[in-house]
Amino acid sequence: MTDFILKILDGFRRLFEILKVDYPKFRALLWIKLTIDNRQEKSVAQRKSNKEVSNSMIWVMFIYAFMGLFAGLLLVQIPSLFTALVIIQAMIMVMTAVALISDFSSVLLDTTDNAIIQFRPIDGRTLAVARIVHITVYMLMITLSLSLGTLVVGTVKYGPVFTLTFPVSLIFSVLFIVFLSNIFYLLLIKISGEERFRDIILYFQIFMAAVALGSYQLLPRLMGASLLKGFSIEIRWWAYLVPPAWVAAPVDAAVRGVISKEALFLTLMGIGLPVLFVVVVVKYLAPGFNKALLELEKTGPAREKKTLGRSLPIFFSRIATSRPVERAAFQFVWLISNRDRKFKLKTYPTFGYMLIIAVVLTLRGKGGLAQTLQNLPNTKLYLVFLYVGCMLIPMTLFQMRLSDQFQAAWIYRSLPIARPGDLFRGGVKAMVVKFGGSIFFLLSIPTLFIWGPPVIDDVGLAFINMIFTSYALSLIVKNELPFAKPYGVAREAQKGIAGFLLLILPGFLGLVHFGLTFIPYGVLIAVPVIAVLIWPVSKIIDSTRWDMIAPV
């Protein structure tokens, strides 16, 4: 795909040369940038693949096209073209901006290329244009895939005028996004140091990944909802404040062939302001950007608390662990999982997604919300709440094995650790307390509140099941130590049928639990039974020997 993009750019060679760009160098730079970009994993398209990431952009475009398809269907759902377009354009703008911030930050903020390229004979203008073109290419690809659905649906419904005008309006949307994200970056740089800055970017990435996960669930449901039917927006005063309205108005006017005074004014804003903004960015904001970036690097490192004294990992490790190595591993894994951005990026979205699913599942009653809530105590939906934590366990355990700094795992083998299983137990316990446990605690409060004392035994069984799940799942991954494997090339732990069965264990236990609720005292009796089952599994983990562990 990189070659394809470069071929297109070759067509504009003259234009670049008029801009005094050294074209062959520009092309070489762009090739490098696009190639590297293509090999980076994007937060919206986290695949579980065995291979190295090599065409991540194709995947990203595919996912955005899927989301865009639902956006396009809004044109069918909503009779007013203007209304539909405002919503669609708003979505495209927000999604592209967030995508830009979440996935492109690494490229934008990468100052290492300064060290590699700056002393080579490439002039600043060529560098700057290469950077701008790179960003534009990226954004165009996202915007295009997001708007593809709208374009197709719109053409069918509104004819060729739509086909011609809509893409033009997109160009101006993109200009807005460039402006918005630039302002965002500059603000961020001004107000925060490097670590903080990267953390904020991380939250955007997490948000983006959660949206990607949730969209499969939520978008189809939203489409079915009656909420949007007959929903309509008129051009009022506020339309002048909302960029999507500026770009929606001209398309609407062109399709209907009626040009009102308001629409004309909005159109002028939609064309004029983005151009003005971009000029402001290029002339006044961008020059300071690189400088600000370099200063960002210089800011001192963030301090951590000197002693962990009474901190959470110490507190929980005292409760959850007994052996010294296990306790050390607990704190070690807890701290790294707190700070490793990639780990957070991979786990937190699922965390949020599971919560969404739990709420969606419990509240999707036939009648109104109030009625659903009233009816809730008569259902067994508390099981959904209670098993969310358990569902999270497999994902966190798989992520715990991976790290970009997997090479640092030499440390385990150089230390006198008699039972490598202890390292593993400590890590698993940290994950269970931090993720499974916290969400379990969080959701068991509303559960007890809504369903009351009769479900106390259910809470107990769900808790024991969560512990059991974590130990049982450990059997698949116990031969891999915490953070000792690289991302991407890591072979996923699909160890045959046994592995698969263990993966669906949380769901299976939940079903069994559901069945037990129909038997008197069934749940209560199951608690000690499962608790006893934990013991042999724990023994198997203890029996792990060093020669069973994959070498570094």
Binding site: E194, E195, G300, P301, A302, R303, E304, K305, K306, T307, L308, P324, V325, R327, A328, Q331, F332, L335, I336, R339, D340, S403, Q405, Q407, A408, W410, I411, R413, S414, L415, P416, I417, A418, F483, W546, D547, P551, V552
Partner: protein, 278 residues
């Protein structure tokens, strides 16, 4: 001449007495067909600094990883502290320190947190490890960074942390793979001095490096390996006596190079000419 023989005798006597490390016919193959180590035999006396040198891919790191129990599969016999490494890896690991070649660390941790983790594994009481870590970090000029995440650290700072990590439990043998890389000149002097003093206290140091002049000055005994086999072994003076080179670098290239270094350099330079169009 008499002194020379005396030295050789003394060394031999020490080796026979009770070597702290013994390698007997050590062979290692990663793929089952080609041997990385072709049968290493080595006796190391306590209180020595051993320089272990060889060209890239000669098998230095592999030897070290086997001796410290990180690679359990090999053939031959390895004894450290008189213990067979295959059976007593844990007991050996308790008393050794290791600086790996790659400065790989879990960088999201702070030096204090990392050292505390090591302390926990070595079962050193919390307050003691904290005190020791604080002292060592301060002495290495890392006081200000003791509670900062290592993500922001330079290569040299990480290397300092690794050196401290290798010594924090007061081991009896130190295995160091290129320990000075990334350190500034002053720091190198400090580390070299620390190594000499540790050796004087009876600690053994197994020192792998490519930097010949450091090895020449620091090590009591130099072992050169090439293609998985020992090709020279002795004090620097002995090696000088065997070969007519003046510096260790010279001796090294004579022993391990295909004697074509000059021609190689010449050819490298002429690559400009060959690439250019006539």
């Amino acid at each position: 001449m008499i002194i020379y023989y005396y030295l050789v005798d003394m060394r031999a006597a020490m080796n026979q007495q009770n070597p702290i490390i013994t390698l007997r016919d050590l062979k290692k193959s990663y793929d089952g067909t080609t041997n990385v180590l072709m049968g290493i035999n080595l006796d190391i006396a306590p209180g020595q600094i051993i320089g272990y040198i060889g060209p890239n891919g000669a098998g230095k790191t592999t030897t070290v990883k086997i001796m410290i129990g990180m690679i359990p599969e090999f053939s031959g016999e390895v004894r450290v502290f008189g213990l067979n490494i295959s059976d007593h890896a844990q007991d050996v690991k308790k008393r050794i320190g290791y600086v790996p070649e790659t400065a790989a660390l879990y960088e999201t941790l702070t030096p204090n947190e990392f050292l505390r983790f090591l302390g926990q594994i070595h079962e050193i009481p919390g307050p003691e490890i904290q005190k020791r870590a604080a002292d060592m970090l301060r002495l290495f000029g890392l006081k200000e960074n003791a509670d900062a995440r290592m993500t922001s650290f330079s290569k040299g700072m990480k290397q300092k942390v690794l050196i401290i990590a290798s010594m924090i439990h007061d081991p009896d043998i130190l295995f160091m793979d290129e320990p000075l890389s990334g350190l500034d000149a002053n720091m190198m002097v400090v580390v070299k001095e620390i190594l000499s003093r540790l050796a004087a206290k009876g600690k053994t140091i197994f020192y792998c490096s490519h930097v010949m002049d450091v090895v020449e000055r620091v090590c009591d005994r130099i072992v050169i390996i090439d293609k998985g086999a020992i090709i020279a072994d002795g004090t620097f003076d002995e090696l000088q006596g065997m070969n007519k080179g003046e510096s260790l670098e010279r001796i090294f290239t004579q022993l391990t190079g295909s004697s074509g270094q000059d021609r190689l350099a010449e050819e490298f330079i002429s690559a400009f000419e060959r690439g250019r169009k006539p």
